[in-house]
Symmetry: C4
Subunit: 233 residues, 4 copies
């Protein structure tokens, strides 16, 4: 057992959930799992099919995106993961997919309106869509800048990454995060469902109103507030 | 064998149908099964994944929402189930999901028009969408009030819960019921299919007319009337 | 081996394809297989779940809809099947489903325009949608009249049932037929795919033109003309 | 082991991926694999169900569409494959499907706009839709002309078949190609996903802008440029 095998196992299991949940075609997604005390995370190797993954193939990378252990090249999105881990000190997992509906919203460059309690069970805001970055940043350290594009968008909208664990990167696709890799994947699946329902809602009723504040508050707090009563304590 | 094992088994089997039928993501749904003579129902524990459920984990609750047996916390929607059982004396099962198309209609706050015989095979009305409740009720005993929101909507529309076994709760999601838990689940699956077809019908022909009365009557009665000839007698 | 076991087996296998192909929810569909020399067909029993079907449960009915053999009640749509067999002397199978997209077109009361070669590989016309029948006919011998509604629609449009093996019954759902029960089921699956693609085509380009005549003719004849070269001869 | 068994095996495996990926209904698709040194390709026999295919049933055809080995009739689209192999000297596989969303775009006779990085990861242009061919060509050597319709469309748009490995044939369906049969199938699956996302993007935001040039260039080059860093080198 290597010193990183616990996060390799966690990253492996989280990555393997992506095809099960229908969130990826081929290799269009990646999940990482962090050990903050060791200052490293395990991430999917780039372009390796899911059915060829093993825990041992997960690449160990530090928060400056340097490979610490592993013979395979890490995901091309590794720098984005590293930036989020470096800047946000209470997350332990990051997930990126090109899931169909969330990606369509990202391509539309619009926030996903909060239309119902399925959404409010998870957060209290329209899911933000970060604008595409400037050409200079794209030509530069692109995946590194993508991380800051995400962080800056949340900061600009005065959102807390601990409360809003999902974002759309304009023209690109969703990123989600959480305390663990499994939670990050959960957030990607929830986001895809919310994204599909929001489009359908607008198709049924183009004038559908946003959820009212009292319901937003009620549903979020019954799952996440100090007096939450969802799940087992 | 405990004295509640029959309804635990019934609730377990009904809950396990939800992922099979594609009606739930993660734990976003719950079914209960009532024994009216004992005055209790068995309901899914809150937030427990379907693949970890067992009949013994079903929580036994009375019609005032008090837990009678079980170590797990019951579904956060338990009070809604309890109200429906208490007020409607001929139902034996209640089902709640966030299925994609029915939830989108709920979020759109529109009734689902009766467009065809698939719908008329099950009831004779537009599927009602109960309006979101007042802020005071939301802040109060929310899930309890949700039950009355459902009952009041049917009463207001002069609908009989024995004939209309499904409703949309505005901004939230569908609830269905029936003589058994299995029938409540069946109604949720039928509602999801009707909801999808209704949206597609409006997309194909925005001026699509409602089903005419003679066809509504014919199809409902061939399945449910005194001279019904659908199924095995 | 009973004297009808060959058509019971054929009807059984054809019915079992419906859930495999995703064309039915619960029992919302039925297929029959005819032995014209015996003047009877085998059809699904009404309301029996697919996973409880066996060849021996297929009900034997004559062309006047009289049950000849079997203890179960035949499909509620039996009379429609009987009429088609009686009036059209070269068909050997009939299939009825409430498949999602074809049913949505039926509910929209519009013909499905011929937009591409997938459609032209199977016939050369817009898929007809028969109008809902008169109230008097609905109140009368409804399923019997449904058969004539189908036949009259083809006659009125001067279509040949041997070339156009599928129709939508307005406000209701599709019926298909063919030389065998298996071919009738095939036509239902093809119709569902054509119906979905046609809606998507109109969503992408509301002004999408019908397929031009030369392509309609080419594709139909390469599969069905005297010099056809599709498939194995 | 016959002298063609290597391409029969390759073609067989590639064809069998089509139903797994959800790209075909029944036999509505075909893949071929070329051995350029032998001047022949292996292609699916016409109209044979996927579950009856074996490597030995793959038909061996030369670049003039003459059958070299095999007792079955090759795919009716064989001449289109042959033309592409003859004119484009660095491809080794061709795939044709009637996948739902790509076919709907083909029926709409519109190019698929490049809306996001999922698209730019694979090429840098709107996916071209070749216009339907002239009536004279349709009446003539239709499948042969289809090959030239594809080639002429790319030439007219000054696109390189080595960079743009997918096209829509107007009113018909997609064709894709690549260095191997497996790559051609991969391109068909990617095209279907891009086609679905593009429609959804326009439904969410009818004014959604094309991806900007800097992002197109960045994403294509990180996967395909001289300094690419996607996948394992």
């Amino acid at each position: 057992m290597g010193k990183y095998s616990h996060i390799q196992q966690e990253a492996y299991e989280a990555n393997m959930q992506l095809p099960v949940l229908g969130l990826v075609l081929y290799t269009f997604g990646n999940v990482s799992a962090l050990d903050r005390s060791l200052g490293v995370f395990a991430i999917k190797p780039s372009g390796v099919p899911y059915n060829e993954l093993t825990p041992g193939k997960m690449v160990i990378v530090d928060l400056d995106s340097k490979v610490v252990e592993g013979t395979l090249r890490p995901s091309s999105d590794t720098k984005t993961h590293a930036v989020l881990y470096k800047e946000w000190d209470s997350i332990g997992g990051v997930c990126h997919t090109h899931s169909t509906y969330a990606t369509a919203w990202a391509q539309s460059q619009l926030d996903i309106p909060i239309f119902g309690t399925t959404h409010a069970d998870h957060n209290t805001v329209d899911i933000p869509c970060a604008p595409p970055m400037d050409d200079e940043m794209i030509k530069g350290n692109y995946e590194h800048e993508t991380g800051y594009q995400i962080i800056n968008c949340l900061n600009h909208k005065k959102m807390d990454y601990k409360e809003v664990e999902m974002i759309l990167v304009g023209n690109h696709a969703p990123f989600t995060w959480g305390k663990t890799a499994a939670k990050a994947v959960y957030n990607s699946a929830v986001l895809e469902s919310i994204a599909q329902m929001a489009l359908l809602t607008q198709q049924i009723n183009p004038g559908a109103p946003r959820l009212k504040d009292s319901l937003i508050k009620k549903h979020f707090e019954r799952k996440h507030g100090p007096d939450s009563y969802y799940g087992q304590s």
